[in-house]
């Protein structure tokens, strides 16, 4: 018997089949003339210096922290949101306490300055610095 989630699986399978079918059609119709230069990576017409696969600080620590505080919180709150009405005010208070504690976590995060992304710190060029002979 096809469950509800089975239908969702069919949706995803259909999407994959559709995309692969389109790629095959495109492979049939499109010409193929490989030349060495065509397969070099594009870098505005220049030879790329150095590879882009370097250690890249995507500030994952900050994103993970914020993700932890909020998305996990939201996941826990969904069942509460559905059922708190049966327990009246006390059910509501339970959720609110949970929310406020997490709000505190965010306030601490904000105060500590971890919510700052890679902000530009412009250093306006000072004349005497520039004119100092290059040591």
């Amino acid at each position: 018997m096809l469950t509800e989630f089975g239908k969702i699986l069919i949706f995803i399978m259909l999407a994959i089949i559709f995309v692969v079918a389109v790629f095959i059609i495109s492979k049939l119709l499109s010409p193929n003339r490989p030349t060495r230069e065509k397969y070099l990576t594009y870098e505005c017409g220049e030879n790329p210096q150095g590879s882009p696969w370097v250690k890249f600080n995507i500030r994952f620590y900050v994103v993970a922290l914020i993700f932890l505080i909020f998305d996990v919180e939201v996941v826990l709150l969904f069942p509460w949101a559905l059922t708190y009405k049966e327990y009246g005010v006390y059910g509501f208070l339970v959720g609110i306490i949970f929310l406020l504690v997490l709000g505190l976590g965010m306030a601490y995060e904000w105060r500590k300055g971890d919510l700052e992304w890679a902000r530009p710190h412009p250093k306006p060029p000072k004349l005497d610095e520039i004119l100092k002979p290059k040591s």
Binding site: K7, L14, V19, S26, R33, I58
Partner: protein, 355 residues
């Protein structure tokens, strides 16, 4: 829809497949129409004509683009990571198409009546992030790497305000399934959630301002999730050449475009369902008044798509007026403004719903 087809052909898988084909065609037709609409809207806003030469007022323009892209050669750079490079478009498109499984186009046309409708949509839409990261990293191009890194940070951090607003709506509605939410907002537009939902009484009037704020926050954060201006930083044309799909050409790039427009409609569909009454018509059904019952689902479908398109039009309208934000300003908007407001909104809606 599924039941009707199942009785017709008997085999479950085939019926499920046919049910899935309908939203796929809707997305394809919408994507073709959406790209043409975007070019015409941008043209007329900029005092020019837009595509005119292919068919009447260029309505065949996107068909021509699609068929031309089919003929483009497919180039995978030598030092790109081949497998990830090919999987990325599949992941991005299936991530955005899977959300259509739970969106009720009309009372009859619904992919699967799974209980956790909106929760599933939140979960599946983060699949797109993985696809974008794969696309950016595997293409071994500095611009696509920068675009992908920006996309990761942006979409993950804008999921939080979306989740908070959805949570506050679920608190009001008491159910997760999108179909039930649309059914609750029946008869006239006065019962839509944006005007405080169907229950009459003091809480309805108290809710209206907070519903407007919630709708606004949801619109802004879903704009960021779909990478539309002023948040289109991952594929910022003027800075990063073409963002994370710089190295993609031909139909692979076409898939990214299809996924973007599919996402756009999915996101505006969710806002329509949560706030503007899903497939309910604002002024009652013509079918009921003249007693033709089978006409009602088609009317519902019409109303749903009409509301979705108006929201898509607003997204396009924003694209051609506002400049683009920078990455750190984007993060400040999300963390320092959207999340606290969504937070307060959640608490106040909770209190009002208790009255």
């Amino acid at each position: 829809m599924y039941q009707f087809l199942y009785d017709l052909i008997g085999n479950e898988i085939l019926a499920g497949l046919l049910v899935a084909v309908v939203p796929l065609t809707i997305i394809l037709v919408f994507a073709l129409f959406g790209i043409w609409l975007e070019r015409k809207v941008s043209a007329h806003m900029q005092d020019r004509l837009g595509p005119m030469r292919t068919g009447w007022h260029g309505w065949l323009q996107t068909v021509a683009d699609l068929m031309k892209m089919l003929q483009k050669e497919d180039i995978i750079a030598t030092d790109a990571d081949k497998t990830l490079y090919n999987i990325a478009p599949v992941l991005v498109f299936s991530g955005s198409f899977a959300a259509y499984a739970v969106i009720p186009f009309s009372s009859k046309l619904l992919g699967s009546e799974v209980e956790i409708g909106i929760f599933y949509v939140l979960a599946i839409s983060s699949l797109v992030v993985a696809g974008i990261l794969m696309a950016g990293w595997s293409a071994n191009n500095k611009y696509s790497l920068l675009g992908a890194m920006r996309a990761v940070a942006q979409i993950i951090s804008y999921e939080i305000p979306t989740a908070l607003i959805v949570l506050s709506m679920v608190m009001l509605m008491g159910t997760l399934s999108l179909d039930k939410i649309s059914q609750m907002q029946t008869s006239s537009f006065w019962n839509w959630n944006i005007f405080g939902g169907a229950v009459f009484g003091l809480s309805k009037f108290l809710l209206i301002p907070f519903m407007f704020i919630a709708a606004l926050i949801l619109f802004i954060s879903t704009l960021a999730e779909v990478n539309r201006v002023p948040f289109d930083i991952p594929e910022a044309e003027s800075e990063l050449v073409a963002g994370y799909f710089t190295e993609y050409c031909g139909m692979k790039w076409g898939m990214f475009m299809l996924a973007e427009y599919g996402n756009m409609f999915a996101v505006s569909a969710i806002i329509v369902i949560l706030f503007f009454g899903g497939y309910q018509s604002p002024i009652g059904y013509f079918g009921n008044s003249i007693g033709v019952q089978w006409l009602v689902p088609f009317e519902q479908g019409f109303w749903f798509i009409a509301k979705g398109l108006t929201l898509v039009f607003v997204q396009m309208w924003l694209r051609w007026t506002l400049p683009r934000l920078r990455v750190d300003q984007l993060m400040t908007v999300c963390w320092k403004y959207l999340i606290p407001y969504a937070f307060l909104n959640l608490i106040i809606i909770g209190i009002i719903s208790l009255l």
